[in-house]
Symmetry: C2
Subunit: 191 residues, 2 copies
């Protein structure tokens, strides 16, 4: 949507603070898809989630994402879990399972935005069918097969708005947006 706004992020509401969003990634296959799950984690972090629960655990992946957070700022973390059902069951807010079979995100957004805390759940190739029942909402980010990375990013963007540039002092290293080339400010330079 071309809003004509200039660089400020869209806020879901000026009256109410945005929900705190966590992500749960189930069905990770440590041997097979470390890169895809890393992309899920980095997208979750970049688009404003507070943490990603990961089942099964993958300490090497959690460490790689922690290294990114240490450099680029924020408190995002990957939390390995042994029992994902318990995360869903005990979550103090709305559980939104992202699946192409669900109801359209557009339609569910007003209801989702009422919650103070939201858990976005994404599966791998095989999603346990009980997730469809135990979730508060089954949310379709489009009704076509695509990608858990895309689903997480778009859902977060619609809930929280586009991330704004980091301000000086907020992170050890930050990007200064520029029309051409790369400008990085802070204690360390990239490449």
């Amino acid at each position: 949507m071309a809003t004509g706004s200039s660089g400020s992020s869209r806020s879901p509401s000026r009256r109410r603070s945005p929900p705190e969003v966590s992500v749960l990634r189930v069905g990770h296959r440590p041997g097979r898809d470390p890169r895809l799950t890393t992309h899920v984690a980095l997208a979750a972090r970049a688009f404003g989630a507070r943490r990603m629960y990961l089942h099964p655990r993958d300490d090497a992946l959690a460490d790689r994402v922690a290294a990114v957070a240490a450099r680029w700022g924020g408190t995002f973390e990957v939390v390995g879990v042994d029992d994902w059902k318990n995360v869903v069951r005990s979550f103090p807010g709305a559980v939104a399972h992202l699946t192409m079979y669900g109801l359209p995100l557009d339609r569910l957004l007003p209801r989702l935005a009422r919650h103070r805390a939201i858990l976005l759940v994404v599966g791998g190739a095989k999603v346990p069918s009980e997730l469809y029942r135990s979730s508060t909402y089954n949310v379709a980010v489009g009704h076509q097969p695509h990608s858990e990375v895309a689903a997480i990013a778009v859902a977060l963007e619609r809930l929280l708005g586009l991330p704004r540039p980091v301000r000086p002092g907020e992170a050890p290293q930050r990007i200064v947006p520029t029309a051409r080339g790369k400008r990085v400010a802070g204690t360390r330079r990239v490449r």
Copy 2:
């Protein structure tokens, strides 16, 4: 943004038809990241791009994506290219290189939306520096490291709106959005 709309996709403008968007994926590594590039292609398709140019070519990947399109509808295709610079040079519209170093998407959207055709370019780990110069715009979908899959999906969603459910007869197989479980209509069933 909680708009309160009910299932209809957001249109960037009612006055003007949306731009035709193509994607160019450079720096694909056929041996290493077939799944990541497949996710880029499927996200591009699901969020409304018309085609994805792929450098270097990967016929197996193009075939897999064609199989998805044959089943789920639409005319999206993966077009292998030997010379990506020529795709950029000869593109009859705006070339928007998605990079965390660029100017914020929010700020560039009104300018992008004026073009009839847009080429969204995403690189892999190493992006040729000349892409920063030869693009019309360097566009940041957030200013943090994340994922080319996320960048493509969010850029398309902001340009074209969320994809709407497929109508009866539009595809061999389509999802009927539902609150619980899976409903698929058409000639073939999933799984």
